[in-house]
């Protein structure tokens, strides 16, 4: 807390000014007339000299100890003004003061928002709060003056001024004291009418010399006494107006309407002023102060006599109790000026004014209890108020001071309207007291309490309260803002619009940048409205634009905001241009600039594909840079591009920009004339504009738009209109088409909202920072992206594929046509093409254009050879070159067939790029590429699976099981044929087709299985190793011949190519396995009637299943060949049975095979190993038989062929032995078979399972086998069941 002298505080200063002795002035009209010459009333003339900074007068009041007064002030009032101010008049006056302040303080509309400077607020209150508050508060205090319940407004002296011009001046002086001319307060007993008087004779020197005046003065002195009469000569400046350097009146005269301030006192010479000074000083020191001293002493004596001491107090109490009954009125009993209570109050106030605060306080205390007992509340409050102030000045008890002020304030408030003015004054003093002690927060609450019913009054008080929150430590900014808003609301209610705007603008500084959007919107909206009501539409629009992004508001509020906004904009009478229009919201992250240099795009979707994807696709087609070096011309062109490091676009071709517009509101907004804002300059050599220019651009952007829009001869921009529904987001494509060579720069986008307001968005500024940083790294300037070098027009191919379906079922095979057009006059040549997904799209041959589809797929049985030519390797993965001499130009389109097959289900993005060179050599760009992109959705159709297992009974024959499930929800398919593609495979159906498809079609969700026999065609195996060139296929038709006669040729043009790609795609690990089979299933949508469907009728669909290995158990297959049933007479000898084993090596290499025959498990499985190498070595294989003795032979006597399997397995076990070699080793050549003799011995009749042998095979580890590590090199095959029944022959 401060240890400041209370008198030095603002409140102390205020009290020294306001609670000072009153001098009542009475003057004749001629006195006024004389002073009027100076533009002043007589009172005004004297006023500046009523305040003394160092009067230095000794004062002795009640105590004997004298002290000196330094600062002193008198208040001058005309007698007519010594009365309670008229309330109505006072209110009017206050209102005027506020209105004037409103005009004066009204912020410049262009000025920035006021900033809250917290550091400054610590220095001084007065630097932050508007100065007119102090003036207003002074007025408010003054309004409460001349109340009958307090005495410091009682005149202490009466100054009577008569002019020397006046007739009979002595009589005039006497006349003044006619009682009916005195103020009513003096007459009705509220004030002491016996005021001491001072007689002043005023002489106007312009009227002539002062002879007459001196004569009158002597007369006066003889009549009224020597000391009480003074002569004052004014207007000594006879020769003309006199300018004062420091005009003493300037600060006192507030209404400058009458005359300019420097003219004030123009006839008063310095001598005159000195004379006035002396007059006032003498008046104070020689009359007023001594008079007051004297009165204080007299009153003090009286009070001491009647009220001090125990006896007096008791008496007083007794007396007052008796009076109680009559004192019912609100204001208590009426006290005459000479009642003891009034006298005590006068004593207190006089003491206060002479700064004997101890004396004042003791008297206030004394009277306070009296008034309280008397229930004279207003007087009580007045005394409490003074007590509070005295406590404050004495700096004794802060608590006491505050208590007194609060008590006084509350008491005044209780009085209602009677005490309202005093309550305000008391509150203001209280507030100042709190402020002096840094209790700003408490001060704010008092301001809040002062707010009466008067709206204007409360508005000012609320505003002052808000500043208290700002000044409190720590600052309570939010409360500051809130009270400003409250205050602004009140100002608005009493039409003080300018004040309202001012307060709201201050509040804005608090809410700005916070996320309290409701409050922000409210403040901006009202400022906007109010500015509009003042006709300041420009500023209004500025504020209104802040609230357009109000997605958090309710729909009705949004409508209100928008409609008000548009109304204001309309009132401006012009199309308004706003650089920060938030409606609609532009999503800058979606911004894409598409321009075509050597890259051209067939469709917008093609432009959306990643550049890297295109690059990798075009890599092979484009002439490489190293190759370009051979051609100096081309090298140069590249250099040009490099030097400029700039985007290139072609005259006449549009640069497209796509950007997303979003409507954050719930109501729809019409957007019109959305265009790109571009800058064009004709020079191509212009290097990238320097930084200075771009910064300048920001300032006068709006101006530049206008220039842009008018000067559009060298380029064209597209215009888009659309309606954005509530919450909608729309992608907009805009374009700018340069017409001539030069430089084109895209600056931003502009649009018109609701036809009245133009918004602009600068792409450059809106770019996310991250992007810019990234660009800096690569040493690109940020505006690179939007700057284009325009080169002269060159041909551009237009291309399309039709009819490419958007949706297709998997397997669907179509014939498509690529159509290329070149509208320009120059031809293009050297066309090349590449397709991203050759599995889906392949390039056909020119002659395919003529053939009819799907008839061209029909198998042509008589010309097998022609089909053979189709080498599927031709089109794989390489660039397709259009025939030499192909040139596209003019009206006629260039057509080329394509084949499409929906290979697998899913969303497929097909990209193709067409390269062409430009005939005109003079152009910078030598070649261009046309990029086409299509999306195809492939739906699943049939789920096809194959299972292959070998026949046990026949070598190189397999059973194929085909499972087909219709995966569609509604479509039916007709399965036409299954063809095998591979090495010498023949396929045939096991059942008749009719039995498989009774309804001829496969309904949605239906599943079927059918079985085929797959057989290796032996007749072609002799053709040699080159199997790939001579594939033999076999087709198994699933449709009865009566219905459909077509057999599709899977080796015809598109099918074989697609099959090739499928093969590549379905590559499995067993690459070297030449023993695989591929299947092609051909089916088509089935329509019983004219059912409109997804795909066109007569279409063909194919499913390709590749790399099915037939050798599931290994590279070898074998067959045991021997008798099934034998008759033998066991009585003669055991039975020796010879059998054969055929082993086929289906692998591509010589395989080592070892056959181990195992005797029955019960015998201990003894294996004898004898190496016998067949075919490679010619060892003796025939020879001895090692016959293992048989122990515990179990011979089933009743063994019958018809016995059950269980019996067989039990009893057939180990009742035979393998004779001959128990282990045979052999090498089998690739793709060949050998025959091995086997022999068993049977000792009793029965049925035997000859499965206990094992085939071990081993591939050579070197050679082909090495290519695939995963491949199995060796394995073991268990023998399979072979039953032999031996019967006892009779």
């Amino acid at each position: 807390m401060t240890t400041m002298d209370p008198l030095m505080t603002p409140l102390g200063q205020m009290l020294l000014e306001e609670i000072t002795p009153v001098v009542m002035l009475i003057s004749t009209p001629s006195v006024e007339e004389a002073s009027r010459k100076n533009g002043l009333s007589f009172l005004q003339m004297l006023t500046p000299f009523c305040s003394f900074d160092n009067i230095d007068v000794p004062v002795r009041t009640a105590s004997d100890q004298p002290y000196r007064l330094h600062k002193f002030k008198l208040r001058l009032f005309y007698a007519s003004d010594v009365k309670r101010p008229d309330l109505k008049e006072a209110k009017e006056q206050l209102k005027q003061v506020i209105s004037e302040a409103g005009e004066k303080e009204f912020p410049d509309s262009n000025s920035d928002l006021p900033k809250i400077n917290l550091e400054l607020s610590s220095s001084s209150e007065y630097e932050n709060t508007p100065s007119w508050f102090r003036f207003l508060n002074k007025e408010l205090v003054r309004v409460a003056s001349f109340s009958d319940h307090e005495a410091f407004d009682h005149p202490v002296i009466c100054l009577l001024a008569v002019s020397s011009k006046d007739e009979q001046p002595i009589n005039r002086f006497v006349d003044f004291f006619n009682t009916n001319k005195l103020p009513s307060l003096l007459n009705d007993g509220a004030m002491d009418p016996k005021v001491s008087k001072h007689y002043l004779l005023v002489h106007d020197n312009q009227d002539g010399p002062a002879d007459r005046a001196s004569k009158i003065l002597t007369e006066m002195r003889s009549t009224f006494g020597t000391s009480d009469c003074t002569l004052l000569c004014i207007n000594s400046s006879l020769d003309g107006p006199f300018k004062h350097q420091d005009n003493p009146w300037a600060s006192y005269i507030t209404n400058s309407s009458s005359s300019p301030t420097q003219d004030l006192g123009c006839f008063l010479k310095m001598d005159d002023i000195d004379e006035i000074k002396v007059l006032m000083q003498d008046l104070s020191s020689k009359h007023i102060i001594p008079n007051m001293e004297q009165k204080i002493r007299i009153l003090n004596q009286q009070v001491s006599a009647t009220r001090k001491g125990f006896r007096n107090q008791i008496k007083n109490l007794w007396w007052r109790k008796g009076k109680e009954d009559g004192a019912d009125s609100l204001n208590g009993p009426a006290y005459n000026f000479n009642s003891i209570e009034s006298q005590i109050r006068v004593l207190g106030d006089y003491a206060f004014m002479l700064r004997d605060y101890e004396l004042a306080l003791s008297n206030y205390r004394l009277i306070s209890t009296d008034y309280k007992i008397d229930k004279a509340w207003k007087r009580y409050a007045g005394v409490q108020e003074m007590m509070g102030l005295t406590y404050f000045i004495l700096d004794q008890s802060r608590k006491e001071a505050e208590y007194c002020m609060e008590n006084a304030f509350n008491t005044y408030l209780k009085l209602g309207s009677l005490g309202q003015l005093n309550a305000t004054r008391c509150g203001l003093w209280w507030i100042e007291m709190l402020k002096a002690r840094d209790q700003y927060k408490e001060a704010a609450t008092v301001y809040f309490r002062i707010c009466g019913e008067d709206i204007l009054h409360s508005a000012v008080m609320l505003e002052q309260a808000s500043y208290c929150y700002l000044l409190s430590k720590p600052s309570m900014l939010r409360k500051y803002g809130f009270h400003l808003v409250l205050s602004g609301e009140q100002y608005k209610k009493c039409d003080q619009i300018k004040h309202a705007i001012r307060t709201y603008r201050c509040a804005l500084s608090v809410f700005k940048g916070t996320t309290w959007s409701y409050i922000n919107d409210h403040v901006h909206f009202h400022i906007g409205q109010w500015y509009a009501s003042l006709g300041m539409y420009d500023v209004a629009v500025k504020h209104m634009t802040e609230i357009l992004y109000c997605s958090h508001q309710s729909k009705t509020t949004q409508e209100l905001f928008l409609s008000d906004f548009l109304q204001i904009v309309q009132k401006t009478g012009r199309t308004f241009e706003v650089t920060k229009l938030q409606l609609p919201v532009i999503n800058i992250s979606t911004l894409r600039v598409i321009h075509e240099d050597h890259r051209t795009f067939g469709s917008p979707s093609a432009a959306n594909i990643r550049e890297g994807l295109w690059r990798s696709l075009e890599e092979e087609m484009l002439p490489s840079f190293s190759a370009a070096k051979t051609n100096w011309l081309e090298l140069q062109s590249k250099l040009i591009l490099k030097k400029h490091n700039q985007n290139v676009c072609v005259a006449g071709e549009a640069v497209k920009v796509t950007i997303e517009f979003k409507n954050p509101l719930q109501i729809s907004i019409p957007i019109s004339t959305v265009t790109l804002v571009c800058k064009y300059s004709s020079s191509t050599d212009e290097v990238i504009s320097n930084e200075n220019e771009s910064s300048m651009e920001k300032d006068n952007k709006v101006d530049r738009f206008r220039n842009m829009s008018s000067d559009n001869s060298s380029f064209m921009v597209s215009e888009v209109d659309f309606l954005l529904g509530g919450g909608e987001t729309t992608m907009i494509q805009l374009s700018a088409t340069p017409k001539e060579e030069g430089t084109l720069e895209i600056i931003g986008v502009r649009w018109k909202l609701s036809g009245t307001i133009v918004g602009f968005y600068n792409f450059e500024l809106g770019q996310p920072k991250k992007n810019i940083l990234k660009r800096r790294k690569t040493k690109h300037l940020p505006n690179e992206k939007f700057k284009f070098m325009v080169i002269k027009s060159i041909p551009k191919l237009q291309g399309s594929i039709h009819p490419l379906p958007g949706k297709a079922y998997a397997g669907d095979l179509r014939q498509l046509v690529l159509e290329l057009r070149n509208p320009s006059e120059f031809p293009v040549k050297n066309l090349k093409m590449k397709i991203s997904h050759p599995r889906f799209l392949i390039i056909g041959k020119q002659e395919n254009m003529m053939s009819e589809f799907p008839a061209c797929l029909r198998k042509n049985t008589d010309s097998v050879q022609s089909v053979m030519h189709d080498n599927p390797n031709i089109t794989t993965d390489t660039v397709f070159l259009f025939p030499e001499g192909t040139s596209v130009q003019g009206e006629t389109p260039f057509l080329w067939p394509l084949w499409f097959r929906a290979a697998v289900p899913g969303d497929i993005s097909l990209c193709m790029s067409i390269y062409y060179e430009i005939g005109d050599v003079s152009s910078i760009i030598k070649y261009r590429t046309l990029r086409l992109h299509y999306n195809v959705q492939v739906l699943p159709s049939l789920d096809v699976s194959f299972q292959i297992c070998p026949f046990r009974s026949r070598l190189e024959e397999f059973l194929v099981r085909l499972d087909v499930v219709n995966k569609t929800s509604s479509e039916s398919f007709q399965v036409c044929q299954l063809s095998s593609v591979g090495h010498q495979w023949e396929i045939s159906l096991v059942q008749a087709p009719d039995s498989i498809f009774p309804s001829q079609s496969l309904m949605a969700g239906q599943a079927i299985s059918c079985f085929y026999t797959l057989k290796k065609s032996r007749r072609l195996s002799t053709l040699g190793d080159d199997v790939s060139t001579s594939p033999v296929r076999s087709d198994a038709r699933l449709v009865p011949q009566i219905i459909e006669d077509i057999v599709y040729d899977v080796n015809s043009a598109p099918l074989v190519n697609f099959h090739h790609h499928e093969r590549l795609q379905q590559e499995v690990s067993s690459k070297g396995d030449i023993n695989t089979v591929d299947f092609v299933l051909i089916y088509r949508p089935f329509r019983s009637s004219d059912d409109p469907g997804l795909s066109t009728p007569s279409s063909v669909m194919s499913h390709h299943a590749c790399h099915f290995s037939t050798a599931s158990t290994g590279p070898i297959s074998w067959l045991v060949d021997g008798p099934q049933t034998m008759h033998h007479d066991f009585s003669a000898s055991f039975c020796e049975i010879n059998m054969k084993m055929h082993i086929y090596n289906s692998s591509g290499a010589t395989t080592f095979v070892r056959i181990d025959t195992l005797d029955s498990a019960g015998n201990g499985g003894h294996i004898n190993s004898v190496n016998v190498v067949q075919s490679a070595t010619t060892d003796n294989q025939a020879g001895w038989h090692d016959i293992t003795p048989v122990n515990e032979l179990k011979v089933t006597s009743n063994a019958l062929e018809t016995q059950s399997g269980k019996a067989l397995s039990l009893e057939s076990a180990s009742s035979y032995i393998w004779s001959g070699s128990s282990s045979t080793h052999l090498n089998i050549e690739a793709m060949s078979s050998v025959e091995i003799p086997l022999q068993i011995c049977v000792f009793s009749p029965g049925t035997y399972d000859l499965s206990n042998y094992v085939l071990n095979w081993k591939l050579p580890s070197n050679g082909q086998g090495d290519s695939d590590e995963k491949r199995q090199h060796s394995g073991q095959c268990q023998g399979y069941k072979y039953y032999l029944t031996v019967l006892q022959s009779t």
């Binding site: 309570m476 409360k479 803002g481 809130f482 808003v485 309290w516 409210h522």
Partner: protein, 132 residues
Amino acid sequence: MIVCVAVVGHQNNPLYIQSFTEADDALKLHHIVHCSLDVVDERVNNPKRSGPMLNETFLGLLYPIENYKVYGYLTNTKVKFILVTTDLDVKDADNLVLFGTIIKVGVTGNRKGGSGLLTRNGDEGKCKEGGP
């Protein structure tokens, strides 16, 4: 009667304000809640002045305004819960229980993918610790 419940983030940003009155007083409540942050700040900076409390996180009566009383609750993560009531005589203990419930609802509702009051600042888990 509870007039309004508000949740304010640790940067004094409004996360959630729900008024329970029929009247269209959203703006007023926004202002009241916004102002209460001043008092919250003051309480946090001068903890001794508010005297002994039931729970350190419970800020008690922040200030009375018009016919309302504003209570505050501060979690460990500086998320503030503000309660505006018209009840003139409420015990602090009752309010504390109420805040506990509100926070619980806020947290559990969040877990169920409900209001999502706290997820924006990732305060979900921590918030529970601050609860009674």
